[in-house]
Symmetry: C2
Subunit: 326 residues, 2 copies
C-alpha cells in the first residue's frame, strides 16, 4: 500500500488525503479535471518529491488509464458532489459519478490494480426507514440523482470485486466539514452573513436534521480501513462503512453555532417546508458502529467542526469569490 492514485486530488477531501498520505511517507499520483478542484489546495503537495499531478477527466478513459500506471491503490474521490441542482442537468450525475467510476474500474483492470476506496454518500439510503441508519438498511428508494448515481457506482464496484477479484472499500459519508470546505450550507450562510449580517435566508423550515464529520476524522477513517485491508477477508471482497459522527444537528442548531461564532444576530427568512430542495433528505443520521469497531473515533463534535470550518473560511476568503455552483 505505497503508491496511491487519487481522483479528485485537488478537491476538498482529495487534497486533504494527498497531504496526509505524503506526510505518512507514501507516493501519490493525483488526478483532477479542476472542474471544482483548486490549485491552491495542492500547493504544499506540488512541492513534495513524492507527488505527481495529472490534469485529466475520468471520462477520458485512455488518459485515466495512462495516469494510473504503476500505482497499487486507488482512492476514487472525483465526483459531481452537487446534490441540490441535479434535476437541472440530470446527465451530469450519471456521467460524473456512475460512468466515471466505471472508467476508474476499467483503468484499474487495464493496469492490474485491484484495491479501491470509494467515496459514496449517506444519501444512498434515501429517506431511511431506520435512523441511525446501518449499512445493511433495507434496499432503499433513491430520492436524488446524486444518490442514485453513487449507489449505481457502488454496485459496479461490487461486481468488479466479485468478477475480477478487486478489493473494495466503500465509504458512505455524511457531509464533511473543515479545512478546504468549499461547498455547502456553512459556506452559503457565511457568504450571506458577510454580505448582510442582519438577514439570513434558509432553505426549508430549519428543522432538517443532518450529521456532519470533520475532514481530519474522515481521512483517518479511510486510511485506517485501507491499511487493515479489511476487504480482503470480507465475504464479497468489498466492505461498506458509514462515516459520520455519533450526533446530528438541526439546521437551526447549525445557524446558532455559526451566528455565535460570527457574533451576529440575523433575522431569519425561511423558504418553508421540511426539505431544502426536491430530493433533500430531512433527516440524515448514520449508524457508525461498524467503523467505530475498528477503533476509530471522531476528534471534533459537529459544533467544533463548524467553528473550524468558519475559521478556515475567514482565512481563505478567496473561496467566497468563487461563483456559487449550479
Amino acid at each position: 500500500m505505497d503508491k496511491f492514485f487519487i481522483t479528485g486530488a485537488a478537491g476538498f477531501i482529495g487534497s486533504n488525503l494527498v497531504d496526509r498520505l505524503l506526510q505518512d511517507g507514501a507516493t501519490v499520483a493525483g488526478f483532477d479535471n479542476f472542474s471544482t478542484g483548486q490549485n491552491e489546495f495542492l500547493q504544499s503537495a506540488l512541492n513534495h518529491p513524492n507527488f505527481k499531478l495529472v490534469r485529466g477527466d475520468c471520462l477520458d478513459l485512455p488518459a485515466l488509464t495512462r495516469a494510473m500506471a504503476g500505482c497499487d491503490t486507488v482512492f476514487h474521490l472525483a465526483a459531481n458532489a452537487d446534490v441540490r441542482f441535479g434535476l437541472e442537468h440530470p446527465s451530469r450525475d450519471l456521467e460524473q459519478n456512475t460512468v466515471a467510476t466505471f472508467n476508474v474500474l476499467e483503468a484499474m483492470r487495464a493496469n492490474g490494480i485491484r484495491k479501491i476506496a470509494f467515496s459514496s454518500t449517506g444519501s444512498v439510503y434515501g429517506e431511511a426507514e431506520t435512523i441511525p441508519t446501518p449499512e445493511n438498511h433495507p434496499f432503499p428508494i433513491q430520492t436524488s440523482l446524486y444518490a442514485a448515481s453513487k449507489a449505481a457506482a457502488e454496485g459496479f464496484i461490487h461486481a468488479y470485486c466479485e468478477g475480477y477479484h478487486f478489493e473494495g472499500c466503500i465509504f458512505r459519508f455524511v457531509s464533511i466539514l473543515g479545512e478546504r470546505y468549499t461547498h455547502g450550507h456553512v459556506l452559503d450562510f457565511y457568504r450571506q452573513l458577510r454580505a448582510h449580517p442582519d438577514k439570513l435566508k434558509i432553505l426549508g423550515d430549519g428543522s432538517q436534521r443532518k450529521s456532519y464529520l470533520y475532514i481530519g476524522d474522515c481521512i483517518e477513517a479511510m486510511i485506517r480501513v485501507m491499511r487493515r485491508g479489511a476487504a480482503q477477508t470480507a465475504r464479497h471482497r468489498v466492505e461498506t462503512y458509514n462515516l459520520g459522527t455519533d450526533e446530528y444537528v438541526e439546521v437551526n442548531d447549525s445557524i446558532r453555532f455559526i451566528c455565535a461564532a460570527l457574533g451576529v444576530e440575523p433575522r431569519r427568512e425561511y423558504s418553508g417546508g421540511n426539505k431544502g430542495w426536491v430530493g433533500d433528505n430531512p433527516f440524515i443520521f448514520l449508524d457508525t458502529k461498524k467503523i467505530r469497531a475498528t477503533g476509530w473515533k471522531t476528534t471534533l463534535t459537529i459544533e467544533q467542526s463548524i467553528v473550524r470550518t468558519l475559521q478556515w473560511l475567514r482565512q481563505n476568503q478567496w473561496v467566497l469569490e468563487r461563483r456559487p455552483e449550479k
Copy 2:
C-alpha cells in the same frame, strides 16, 4: 393507459406483451434495435392496425425521443439480458442497461410521459441473505455486472419519480420461460440433446436452485399492476414487485423434466462447483407475497413452464440455429 411504448418490443417478453396489449385493444409503439429481437415475433403485431414498429437503439436519444412521442405509458424491456458473459465485455451492461434506461427516462421527460414499467431482475439481491427474498431485503452486494447495471437503472427511475414526478413500477423477474424463449438453460440443454441425446454438459454441479416464471403469468402481473396505477399512491411514487413462482427447482430437477419430456437419458457431465459461472447465483427464490396480494397468481408450475418451452422450441427450431450468445 391507452398508448404504450415498448422498448425491446421484438424480444421474448416484449413481443408477448405487444400481442397481449393489442389483444386488449390498446395502441402500441414498439422500439427495438434487433440485437437479439426477432422479426418473427412481431409477425402478428405488424398486421395489426394499432401497432407501429420503430427500429432504433436506446443509446440514440434523439431517435428514442422521436419514437416515443404521443405515448402515455412506457414499458422499458430493452436490455442486455446476458448475465453469463458480462465479464468479457463489461461496458455492455453499463451502456445497454444503465445508460439506456437513463435515456428512456430522458426521452419520457422530453415528451411529458411519466408512467414507466421496468423489467429488473431478482439478481439485484446478489447472494441474498433472506430466501425467499422480499423486496425490502437488506442493501445487497451485487455479484454480476448485469445485476449491478439493472440495480443502477432502478435507482435512476427512483430519482425521476422523486424529482420529476414520474410513476414507476419496477418488476424484479426470476428467469422467464415459455413461448418465444430464446436464451437460457432450457435452450442450451435442448440444443445439446438434439445434437447428442446421450450426453449433457452441465455448468456447475447441478445443485443450483432457481425459480422460473411462465411468460403469460409475467405479462399478466405487469399489466395488472400498471392498470391499478399502484405507484400513484405509493410513498415514493415508485413500487417494486418481485415476479416469480412460489417454488424453485434444482438444475438437476430441470434436467429431469427436460429429459422426461424429450424421452432421453443422457450421461451427465458436470463442470463442478456450486455456480455455473462467476457471478452465477446458486440460489434464487423470491418472496412474491406483494404481487400475489394484488390477486395475481401463476397458472403454470415450473415443470409445466419447462414443458411448454420445449414444445415451443420443437415447433420453432429456427431459434436453435441462432449463434449461441457471448
